[in-house]
């Protein structure tokens, strides 16, 4: 289509906001189907979630966008750009950038569950971006659906007119056309200007082995064509556009992208460090005056040590992390050494899910055998001598007498729970050093509870506890509020009188003894008996605060061995030896891999 013939008022850019399991991907599938974007033949469940991991966990990590043609009831053909967003709190910033590329958002709420904390957080993000919200109540085919109840709570919580709510069943396809019509009627067309200098918002990117980093963009103003010299306004790097196009959802190269369009750009970009989500692309020659608002650099919230089990695999691990980094700009890492674990990396993540996904990808896609240490947050440490240090690894915490004060990141946590669990939730929050802020009834049975609490306590098995004490019904979201001084101490774990750096942790002084003892006891379970007795101690400086012992091994013998057994018994011994090899020896003690995660998993089996 020639640029002059193009009708910007027939474009609709929208995304779908939903909680995990509320049916976002299924709804997206139905939309693709009813716009004939995908042949039934090619249809696999949940078309837009491209990573196996995503489909398995039922979450969308990576954003995919797709251009759809839809002929509405007014007989006019519209172009719909569906920009999919991740649903998890770890990726709030990415969600906000995706939403910034849209003019409307379809809010999907499960008719049997009601609205959840993360969804609410994302709706607020959408409202911040002035998006038109199209409320959709899904799963109306289920017997336990409470459409009126959900309408009521949407009205109370978000001021949404119950009349505007569209009941659908993404599973059966009922109501999908109503959703599409509402997108056409209620979502405004993009208001950019083709004549203005280019401003293209990068809302995602991925790495292609042949073409390098491919940014996904929404053109706010202007036009971009093949051969254009472009500049990233924040990273200031310059490239030439080799190719560009859209997804239908198959990749389709086209001639140009103009104001209101959503698509991909290929420009031989080798380094993902130069492609920041939220950055603005403009022309080198006639640049825009200023970048689009809302850009910020991503800072990790959670840090963890990642080490190869076998020291020989260090280089291969490094290589794998570099490969993941190519498609994950938010990942930060640097080399680190541990006395106990040898050479490895300190890796910073946006949150716990991000960390888990990273570890799983290393193990699954890159076949790495890992030891990961318990996650930590970034502490600000003021020393007596006036120096200020950022510490993201408890092992690196300076001696107590040198420390004047420690500040730790705090968050505002929003928890939405059925009211029968309010007591449980508050108990956990109190236990996690939370300070009660507010409580609101969203409906007769659903309560929103707000606490201020240390991020480190959330990192430390908060989510599992919350889930298990609310039968999985509570949902949870948080935002960073700042740093607060805390009475924190470093606890060392000593095995056979030797401190093991990778097991050290920081904890509030009041919890030091209790947590130290739990870790000692857990290690006692995990570490196999040796030929000598092993004392396990938790210590604050030189003061031992908890201790237990692993008794010496007294029996390790194959009771039976005759002619026919020898080969089998040899295999058993070889297996035993292999198990021993997989352990890390620290001093004279062999420590199994999982021991290094105990600090994290401690409370999950209380």
């Amino acid at each position: 289509m020639k640029l002059e013939e193009r009708k910007q008022n027939r474009i609709r850019n929208f995304s779908i906001i939903a909680h995990i399991d509320h049916g976002k991907s299924t709804l997206a599938d139905r939309i693709l189907e009813s716009t004939h974007s995908v042949d039934k033949r090619d249809m696999k469940e949940q078309m837009l979630d491209s990573m196996d991991l995503e489909r398995e966990r039922g979450i969308t990590i990576k954003l995919n966008s797709v251009k759809l043609k839809y002929t509405a009831k007014d007989k006019i053909e519209y172009m719909l750009n569906l920009i999919d967003t991740p649903g998890h709190v770890d990726f709030t910033y990415e969600v906000s950038r995706s939403l910034a590329a849209c003019d409307g958002a379809v809010l999907v709420v499960d008719a049997t569950q009601g609205i959840e904390a993360q969804t609410l957080a994302n709706v607020y993000l959408a409202l911040d971006n002035d998006l038109e919200i199209i409320p959709v109540i899904n799963k109306i085919d289920l017997e336990s659906a409470d459409v009126e109840g959900v309408k009521k709570s949407l009205e109370e919580m978000l001021g949404i007119d119950p009349e505007l709510c569209i009941p659908v069943s993404a599973k059966t396809g009922k109501g999908i056309d109503d959703v599409l019509e509402a997108i056409i009627k209620r979502v405004p067309a993009p208001n950019g200007d083709v004549e203005k200098p280019l401003q293209a918002l990068i809302f995602d990117s991925f790495y292609d082995a042949y073409r390098g980093v491919i940014p996904l963009v929404m053109i706010k103003n202007g036009v971009i064509k093949k051969g254009d010299k472009i500049k990233m306004m924040a990273s200031t790097s310059v490239y030439e556009v080799v190719d560009l196009g859209i997804y239908t959802p198959k990749e389709l190269p086209i001639e140009y992208l103009a104001a209101g369009d959503v698509g991909w750009i290929s420009a031989v970009i080798k380094d993902i460090e130069n492609v920041h989500v939220g950055d603005t692309i403009t022309h080198l020659k006639i640049p825009a005056e200023k970048p689009l608002p809302g850009y910020r650099e991503l800072t990790p919230m959670v840090y963890s040590g990642v080490y190869p089990v076998e020291a020989d695999d260090y280089l291969s691990l490094k290589d794998s992390i570099e490969k993941i980094k190519l498609s994950d700009a938010s990942l930060k890492y640097q080399p680190e050494t541990s006395q106990a674990l040898g050479f490895g990396f300190r890796v910073g993540f946006l949150g716990m899910l991000h960390m888990e996904i990273f570890q799983e990808r290393l193990e699954r896609e890159f076949d790495q055998n890992l030891i990961t240490t318990a996650p930590s947050v970034n502490y600000l440490v003021y020393l007596e001598n006036g120096e200020v240090l950022e510490i993201d690894n408890p092992a690196k915490m300076p001696e107590r007498q040198m420390v004047k004060k420690i500040e730790e990141p705090y968050v505002l946590a929003t928890i939405i729970t059925p009211n029968e669990f309010v007591g449980n939730v508050m108990e956990i929050c109190q236990y996690k050093r939370g300070v009660f802020k507010d409580m609101k009834y969203q409906s007769d049975i659903r309560v929103e509870i707000i606490y201020e609490m240390p991020l480190s306590e959330i990192v430390y098995d908060f989510f599992n506890r919350l889930k298990s004490s609310t039968k999985g019904y509570a949902s949870f979201d948080y935002e960073l509020t700042g740093l607060t001084e805390s009475d924190l101490v470093k606890v060392d774990i000593l095995l056979n009188s030797e401190p093991v750096d990778a097991l050290a942790f920081l904890v509030h002084k009041d919890f030091a003894r209790e947590r130290g003892l739990k870790i000692c006891q857990k290690l006692k379970e995990i570490i196999p008996r040796h030929m000598f007795e092993i004392p396990i101690q938790a210590a604050m400086g030189s003061k031992v605060i908890a201790r237990t012992n692993i008794k010496a091994l007294r029996k390790d013998v194959l009771s039976k061995c005759y002619g026919g057994d020898i080969s089998r018994k040899k295999k058993l011994l070889e297996k035993q030896k292999k198990g021993k090899k997989r352990m890390k020896s620290v001093g004279s003690v062999e420590i199994p891999q999982e021991a290094f995660m105990t600090v994290l998993s401690l409370e999950s089996d209380d």
Binding site: R529, K551, R554, C561, G563, I566, S567, L573, K577, K580
Partner: protein, 369 residues
């Protein structure tokens, strides 16, 4: 030179909960077919076994076969092996199967030694283990054995989940009363793919505490020695002159031939093993293709230690050096560490486990394997 012959009978009347040996409950027809196949395999090796010194019929439960079937096989065996050169001929039995007639038949066919699986004299523990016999059956069987003048071994188990010290002392007391010539006293091992392992993994049964097992082991050592037994291997005790000659072949890494299902052999510097599946075994015997044995790794330098050190007398250092042209500590320098930590010792030119080492032998083996 092949010194011993092992014959495997993989049949049982009932499978014990802890057993991971090659065994099955099957039809009489299969048993007959199998015994015929055994004869064929034996004939194939007849030149190698004509001058052996020991025979051992193990299982499974060889005594679970009908007497006629055993007798027919023993008849064939005598035509191939020169029974005059046999110094020890053992058969494994279940107490239920011991009758006067059975024992007479064994004696007629040159069997010199009966090994009987007693395991325990506590009825609850026997039930738990899936054994079909009762304590009274054992008493009766021993009476018959004594009368027959056959030399006999009793198998016992300790560290059975639920076993008390009282149970153990009762079993030991029984031994002092009946004085078998030989005792194999095994610590119950949890093997994969056994009912017992399943029960313990599902927490339906509590595993036996290792420390307590060690304590029980020491009680057994002490008591049996006080009764006049010599401990000559990790789990074996005998009255003077009644060590198991056949089993010593294994621990001395001497050559032996094994026939039957999943039986292994070791001679001419190879170890090999028969098929595990009975249909495959029968077919290969039928097709005369059993020469296509599965070979197993054989490492005499290592295995001399793995089996030799099981004996309380250990291994002779000079003999080792002569055989492999190298000192054992040169080949396995890790052994020195265990001399220092006193799991091993050298006495009169022999390398052997200390008392402590006997219970922690895997710690040494894992270092050299």
């Amino acid at each position: 030179m092949i010194k011993g012959l092992y014959i495997h009978i993989p049949f049982c009347d009932q499978i014990c909960t802890y057993c991971d040996f090659c065994k099955m409950v099957t039809s009489d027809h299969t048993k007959k077919e199998y015994m015929k196949a055994l004869v064929k395999e034996l004939e194939y090796y007849s030149d190698l076994v004509s001058h052996i010194e020991t025979i051992y019929i193990g299982g499974g439960t060889p005594s679970s076969l009908d007497d006629d079937l055993i007798e027919a096989f023993l008849d064939e065996l005598e035509t191939i092996v020169d029974m005059n050169s046999i110094k020890e001929f053992t058969i494994e039995t279940n107490p239920n199967d011991i009758t006067e007639k059975f024992l007479t038949m064994l004696k007629t066919h040159h069997i010199t030694r009966v090994s009987m699986g007693v395991q325990s004299l506590n009825e609850n523990l026997l039930n738990f283990l899936g054994r079909t016999h009762k304590p009274e059956t054992v008493f009766h069987a021993i009476e018959l054995l004594k009368k027959s003048k056959l030399n006999f071994n009793l198998d016992f188990l300790y560290a059975i989940p639920g076993q008390t010290k009282e149970n153990l002392l009762k079993d030991l007391n029984f031994i002092s009363e009946f004085k078998p010539h030989h005792i194999s006293y095994y610590s119950l091992i949890l093997e994969d793919k056994t009912v017992l392992n399943y029960l313990i993994n599902k927490h339906k049964v509590e595993d036996f505490d290792d420390d307590k097992a060690r304590d029980f082991g020491e009680i057994i050592d002490e008591k049996l020695i006080s009764f006049g037994y010599e401990k000559y291997e990790i789990s074996n005790y005998s009255l003077p002159e009644y060590k198991s000659k056949h089993n010593l072949l294994y621990w001395n890494l001497d050559e032996y031939l094994g026939i039957g299902l999943y039986a292994s052999s070791q001679f001419n510097h190879i170890r090999m093993i028969n098929p595990k599946k009975i249909s495959k075994y029968l077919k290969e015997i039928e097709d005369k293709s059993l020469t296509m044995h599965q070979l197993e790794d054989f490492n005499p330098q290592l295995e001399t230690l793995l089996v030799g050190l099981r004996k309380t007398e250990g291994i002779e250092l000079d003999a080792y050096k002569e055989k492999f042209n190298q000192d054992v500590f040169t080949i396995y320098p890790e052994l020195k560490k265990h001399l220092e930590n006193k799991l091993l010792k050298i006495e009169e030119g022999r390398l052997k486990f200390t008392k402590e080492g006997m219970y922690l032998s895997n710690q040494v083996f894992v270092d050299i394997i």
